[in-house]
Amino acid sequence: MANMNLYSRGDKAFVILNMFLIAVFTISALYPFIYIASLSMSTGFEARAGNVVLTPVGFTLDAYAQVLSERMFWVSYGNTFIYTIGGTLMSLAFIIPGAYALSRRQLYGRRFWNLMVAFTMWFHAGMIPFFLNMRDLGLLDSYFGIIIGFAVNGFNIILLRNFFEGIPQSFEEAARMDGANEFQVLWKVYMPLSKPAIATVALFCIVSRWNGFFWAMVLLQDEDKIPLQVYLRHVILELSDDEEFAATLLDATYSFETVSAAIIVCSIIPILLIYPFLQKYFSKGIMLGGVKE
């Protein structure tokens, strides 16, 4: 299909128009990030006046200095790391052995267990019963509650189970001949062979933990336990309506807009850093989990 000469003039016009449209869409996906980055590096006065369009106006890093001097920024950033690392490890500890067991043909009631997992993808008790259950379990306002309460996800289990099922039996048989038990088969044969799938699941967990805000907002009262996203929400939503805060910033080189833009940039950076790894795996991973039951 790479031979351009085969195509007629109509085809060429089609290809060029198509590239143009894709370019427009791509730029529109990228632009908001450029805008926010520029805003964060502009002076508060220029930002308020709406003079920032593409590049920073009146370049200054004062908004960053302001953000980085806030205690809550560092506390919430640290908490996000705890929730992300703890939560991801917890998820993998449940998902990998669970998916492996579900992929084994000799498992009694395999259909039933699988159905039990899949059912949770289609039917949830909902927000209120989930919250009351967390409360009854004494998991409100606790690091552990956030880490364990969202550990398992039916989609991730099915994704990994499908991958395990696709691994040829002969690998396992060779290990069995050498006297490997189930744990060894999983650890020494299946896990090394499933690196892309496990990486996909791990990255999905990392991203959802890093970005999660709703349940952290609902379950955590203690300010010192909140993650970055909840802090960010507080700054963006609550201070934007705070006239007094806005007024005190008028003389400063930073403004509410530049400060919230700077926090946004700071909280995107880790995601951008793992994005190249993310990208390598997810397109494959997504299809595995896809829709095969």
Binding site: L6, T120, H124, M127
Partner: protein
Amino acid sequence: MSTPGTNVGGPGKTEETVLLAKEALHTTRPSRMVRVGDHLKREWQLYAMLIPTIIWLLVFLYKPMYGLQIAFRDYSVFRGVAASPWIGFEHFETLFNNDQFLRALRNTIYISGLSLLFGFPMPIILALMFNEILREWFKKTAQTIVYLPHFISSVIIAGIVITGFSPSAGIVNTVLEWFGGESIYFLTRPEWFRPIFVGTTIWQEAGFQSIVYLAAIAGVSPTLYESAVVDGASRWQMMWKITIPSILPTIIIMLIIRIGNMLEVSFEMIILLYQPATYETADVVNTFIYRQGLQGGQYDLAAAAGLFNAVVAFVLVMSANAISKRYSRTSLW
């Protein structure tokens, strides 16, 4: 492993012996209990791996399903679920006489309808367009960029939207003023909420959702295109006659999933973007549940709204799947 008593075969044996043999076979076969016991003994490691996950599901997902019965009870925090008195369908009657709930229901249907209409075709169109790009580097770069917004949190996306649409500093109003327009405080205007919300979610998700269709397109046999080239088909014709029909099953499956999630509009984003001034068009069932239940403490009423939501969603996906199975032989299960 031969069972004693089965080894009596051979030509010329009477029927009686065969019966005896069968009997022996039957009685010496281990009972079901014993067989399950043996199996568990042999395969205990497998169950050790499965059980934590099952317990997790029971504790965190199935137990709340049991708690869902508060939708039919006059729930009291002090008495707990089981001791609160049954009141039948009273909460549901209250809901369907509640203007706020009905408004939330209408808004949910309206917003999901808009998302379905504009949001569902977008990733398909994008995937078809990506497929027509012949320059690999351009395709890769563009894909990398359009996937990105999916990985950014709703809080940040909402922050970008709020900043971008703000009346003083926002880029949207800046551009509007260039063209001689008046500055609008978009996020306080009910009539602007839906377009902004639907646009934002499409912007955020369309790129990423195109992955599924791209994978489906990658699975189309190249020989189909080769013979089309021989027949002198244009790229446009190949797209309509080969690519689209080939990925139709995927499109149908994605549509079923989408319909099943119809009532699950991304309410986290709505919570971040709406304000009392825009409740009129922005309040959906999930935000209603959040306000009444988690903020207002009316757990039983909110749980009833949640149950209604979940049941409708379940029925929707089941019917979509059944219809699709019947007419296109494509289904989720």
